[in-house]
């Protein structure tokens, strides 16, 4: 009798430990899949899939969006990344609900989400490419591009506080032009840029950095309408595109705080961006030691800054720059606003949100000229 009890107890205890080890091993495997977003050699580039969307049997983009929405299987990360998706859903008269995605593509892999948000340079490569950690769907993945749908909002750009820009105009000009020089070089030599980023501490594999660099270069050198942007115009602000971003932001940023909501609606282009800092005429810099806060972990998404640092473009103009990587819930707008860092990289919508909330931030260079956000889907889910 007693032996039986002990046996049962042991059994229960081992079940418990097994359950917990299973939990912890699962968590490590899921994090490792995020980290190893390796892309061997950009197998299947982002554009390849758009052409095949007319192939026999596949639904139209509108039908796909409507089907996914009716099943409540549209995914996004939230946290300010959702506005373009909500604009797209509204465009087709659909409710703006979405499911929260974690930072893997497991949900689309397992079909709990059928229309998943992806950045062309990151998650799209992860789901398409076949390599260690990738999902290897290749051309089975179709995409819906925010630029084509007319709901593009501009993303990565360089900003600082208005007060900092006014007090240190030469510093801001020198930093901006040196950074854009880095971006121009990076876009012309994406492979080399990817290697430089990898050297400075990478969150993803060298192969995926290369994939990312080539995709990011497309975003920097192509505008929302698909026209190419000449090297001299890298970082320039296309007022029409920023205005569209601001208009969509006013429509889809929901703020409970009445004062902030009112401020949001009153914002104009001049409240969020300034074109005064795009050329530098060699004046003495007011502040030489600078810090720039990235929006995410070190990766080719920010290659221009790493190239400028590595190639000595910053030291050429008398600046000593430190790049601070982001990630998780690090809020780059807060870091810049409270003076922890001098510059930040964020999406235009985040700056609009922050300024509505009372910060005084100003965009000084628009690096990405088109939206890098797409919705991706498995074609097998949307055949007629």
């Amino acid at each position: 009798m007693k032996n039986k009890r002990i046996l049962a107890a042991l059994l229960a205890a081992s079940c418990l430990t097994a359950a917990f080890t299973a939990c912890s091993s699962e968590s490590t495997s899921s994090t490792s899949s995020t980290a190893s977003t390796a892309g061997s050699e950009a197998s299947g580039s982002a554009d390849a899939s758009t052409e095949s969307s007319e192939s026999a049997g596949l639904m139209s983009d509108e039908e796909i969006i409507k089907k996914a929405s009716s099943e409540n299987k549209v995914g996004n990360w939230g946290l300010g990344n959702e506005y373009e998706i909500q604009a797209l859903l509204s465009k087709y008269g659909l409710p703006t609900d979405y499911i929260t995605m974690d930072f893997t593509m497991d949900q689309i892999d397992q079909d709990t989400i059928t229309l998943a948000s992806a950045m062309t340079y990151n998650e799209l490569g992860l789901i398409k490419n076949s390599y260690d950690g990738g999902y290897g769907y290749g051309d089975e993945i179709g995409i819906i591009d925010m630029n084509d749908e007319g709901v593009a909002m501009l993303e990565d750009m360089l900003f600082c506080t208005k007060a900092f820009a006014e007090a240190n105009p030469n510093t801001v000009k020198a930093f901006t032009t040196a950074s854009m020089k880095g971006w121009v070089y990076a876009c012309e030599h994406p492979d080399e840029a990817a290697e430089i980023v990898f050297k400075y501490g990478s969150s993803v594999s060298a192969d995926h950095q290369k994939y990312m660099a080539s995709e990011v270069a497309k975003l920097v050198t192509t505008d929302t309408k698909g026209n190419s942007v000449p090297a001299a115009n890298v970082g320039q602000m296309d007022d029409e595109a920023i205005q569209q971003t601001l208009d969509l932001a006013k429509q889809y940023i929901k703020i409970d705080d009445a004062a902030a909501a009112e401020k949001l609606q009153a914002l104009t282009l001049d409240d969020i961006r300034s074109k005064d800092y795009l050329t530098y005429d060699g004046g003495a810099v007011e502040k030489a030691d600078l810090k720039i806060q990235l929006k995410w972990l070190p990766q080719s998404q920010f290659m221009g800054y790493y190239v400028a640092l590595d190639k000595g473009y910053y030291t050429e103009v008398g600046l000593n720059v430190e790049i601070v990587s982001g990630g998780g819930d690090v809020s780059e707008t807060v870091a810049v606003n409270n003076g922890t860092v001098d510059f930040g990289v964020t999406w235009v919508s985040n700056l609009i949100n922050a300024n509505a909330g009372g910060m005084e931030l100003v965009e000084v260079a628009q690096v990405y000229q088109r939206s890098g956000l797409v919705l991706c889907y498995k074609k097998s889910q949307f055949t007629k």
Binding site: L16, S30, L79, N353, G357
Partner: protein, 267 residues
């Protein structure tokens, strides 16, 4: 007798209230801001936070309800599970204490790590995201609430006065009878001790589990969204709501405890 009771109320209620008023005054007069070197964007004034809550209370209600369901669901399930583990530990004495050390170890797993794992685990549970997401959140809170109850229940069931054990033994009472007549009632105050820990922590658990949930709803989710988006006054409004929920539940617990344990207090 009466004056003593009044003095009791004054010290148990008056002191915390006085402390709250002092903090509120320092906050509203921006002394706190100077003290912590922060500004009104990061730490908005209490009046502003209050006005956001009163302006949006109806739209905040679904968020509050969602969090409340998760917190209470997890608290109830976790407490029941914890108590049964405590009972199992008391019945199977040989391994009881050793086995019980495993349970608090589960609390050492950070919620932040646990929540995504449970999300993954419940993914195939239901096609409806609201259901599977709620279940995932409740499981997270359940795990969070189990440990303190199991350890306290075990103590309550085993730490009985030796003479009462002897008394039961001398009357030749069965183990089962001893369990229901002696151990179970003896564990009741310990249950409340456990609840004093798990009631506030179930709200924290619910808030954190929402951070990683598939569903875009809940007080915790709103805190995170608003902080990342730089909307600190709104984030603080939800933080205040989360605090109020925790405090309110704690007060209810204290009232229930004072009623249930009325006869024991006198001793």
């Amino acid at each position: 007798m009466k004056s003593k009771a009044i003095r009791n109320v004054l010290t148990t209620v008056g002191l915390p209230v006085l402390f709250g008023v002092i903090i509120f005054t320092l906050w509203q007069t921006k002394v706190l801001h100077a003290l912590f070197g922060t500004d009104e964007i990061i730490l908005p004034l209490p009046t502003r936070i209050g006005s956001i809550i009163s302006d949006n209370f109806t739209s905040m209600l679904p968020q509050i309800t969602s969090t409340l369901i998760v917190a209470l669901g997890g608290l109830v399930l976790g407490s029941i599970l914890g108590y049964f583990i405590g009972v199992a530990g008391a019945v199977f004495k040989k391994w009881g204490m050793a086995g019980l050390t495993i349970v608090p170890a589960s609390n050492a797993i950070p919620l932040v790590a646990l929540a995504p794992v449970i999300n993954n685990w419940t993914r195939n549970l239901s096609g409806v995201v609201d259901i599977r997401s709620t279940v995932a959140k409740i499981i997270t809170v359940t795990i969070f609430c189990t440990a303190s109850m199991s350890v306290n229940a075990y103590r309550g069931l085993t730490e009985v006065k030796p003479f009462s054990e002897d008394l039961f033994a001398s009357y030749g009472s069965s183990k089962l009878r001893m369990f229901f007549k002696l151990r179970l009632p003896n564990s009741l105050p310990y249950v409340f001790t456990a609840l004093r820990v798990s009631v506030p922590s179930c709200v924290i658990g619910a808030v954190v589990s929402e951070y990683f949930a598939e569903q875009v709803i809940g007080v915790g989710r709103q805190i995170r969204e608003n902080i990342v988006k730089g909307q600190f006054p709104t984030a603080w409004a939800y933080i205040a709501i989360a605090c109020a929920m925790g405090i309110l539940m704690y007060v209810i617990l204290l009232i229930v405890e004072s009623i249930v344990l009325k006869n024991r207090r006198a001793r």
